[in-house]
Subunit: 254 residues, 2 copies
């Protein structure tokens, strides 16, 4: 039984890619079969796992626009049990190219159907917007994982994101639920971080993960080596956080 999870938040720089890459890797290390789909034209999940534009063949753009078989785009990573479907910058053209198509919001959902049986989890790394790419991801997903930076602007955007999730739930994907809100870049010395945590735990009591990810330099260094943090610095505190998050999620699906 495969669970499809969109990692989404229109606010930029809140830790979507960092969460998608490191949670996928942690789930795979805990014996789950995991597929990460990079659905951001920036291609950060792709390079965060060590792939470059030169080393990839067809990508997710080819799947949703050129009807290439999704199975032909899957790449194996150096972690046993973790595969990725890469993204290149051409993906940014998909929003305009799909405008005229019928069922343009369901392109990713249709493509993912044929590979769900090979995985326990499929994670989708979304771009910082609520445009057609994120709508596709929310339509294909069973649930949404919301990385939430402990900052004022990120807090402000949460309401808009929840509105959009409800709209998708009413029109395109009635099964869509919230997997959870993950507090990221938490700094216990800083009042703003404490205030955001308090607001999230008060307004969304059953939605916030117990795991909180502090600020940790290993997370920002790991991408330059093309590795998830559990391969770059397994003993770093932030590495343990993503392992704990994977455990929390695996507990839930039991």
């Amino acid at each position: 039984n495969c669970r499809v999870i969109a990692v989404a938040n229109q606010k930029g720089g809140v830790g979507k890619t960092t969460t998608a890459v490191n949670l996928s890797a942690s789930l795979a290390v805990a014996e789950a079969r995991v597929l990460l789909i990079d659905f951001d034209p920036q291609g950060n999940s792709t390079s965060g796992l060590g792939f470059t534009a030169e080393t990839i063949g067809s990508d997710i753009y080819d799947v949703i626009v050129n009807d290439v078989n999704i199975k032909d785009t899957v790449l194996h990573t150096e972690i046993d049990g973790l595969d990725i479907i890469p993204a290149r910058i051409e993906l940014s053209a998909a929003e305009v190219e799909l405008i005229q198509e019928n069922a343009r919001e369901k392109k990713l959902k249709q493509a993912v159907e044929s590979i769900k049986s090979s995985y326990d989890f499929i994670l989708i790394d979304c771009p910082p917007s609520l445009g057609l790419l994120t709508v596709n991801a929310l339509t294909a997903a069973d649930s949404v994982l919301i990385p939430m930076q402990c900052e004022y602007y990120a807090m402000e955007g949460l309401g808009q994101l929840l509105n959009t999730i409800n709209l998708i739930k009413e029109s395109l994907n009635p099964e869509l639920s919230i997997e959870g809100i993950l507090l990221t870049m938490y700094d216990s010395r800083n009042n703003l971080s404490k205030e955001v945590m308090q607001q999230v735990r008060t307004h969304f009591p059953d939605k916030a993960f117990n795991t909180v990810v502090p600020r940790g330099v290993a997370l920002s260094e790991a991408p330059s080596y093309g590795k998830p943090v559990l391969l770059y610095q397994p003993k770093a505190k932030v590495s343990e956080c993503y392992i704990n998050l994977a455990k929390e999620m695996l507990e839930k699906v039991k």
Copy 2:
């Protein structure tokens, strides 16, 4: 003689809004007449200066989609010499609604023509994408100010941004130049920060501003009070940085 500057970078969370708000305020305090246009549907510049959806009338969406006169959307801020044109979430619909229009890339440029004579600087806060809104901003602008977070993913995206700027220069706006690259969230204790600074100064020697903005909690706290940092904590180091940046820019236009 008005200078129109787009504050742009498709990478999310690099400090576009923080730079747009605090540089605008610092230029106004240095006696320049400044207009800040919030061109991001998230509306962070709008709330960063204390305005809420309830307190604004028509916004920049109304100007480019409903042909409302741009002069009717200008709001005065609590800083003498600083005006803002706000943005609401409806702006996210503009990209799809303008697709069929002729000269859809020039909507903002045409609107801005009629108010340029009232200002010395017009700054445009862009969303984290290279879609139609950012293309409009790059077409309307004389130059682009690129906030650059000292992180790996931000560095990776710079090449793509420079490609897009060149494309706009060739097709829509031959006058477009680079105002400068501003290093943000610089942490002198961290090797990654030093490495990014070195790469930017080596590859773009004449483009990087001398001013570098370190990480400073006053910058992330100020937006929750709806104030630029020079009103919230004028003595904070980061406040001085944006004052210095304004001085650097004013020197250049002399």
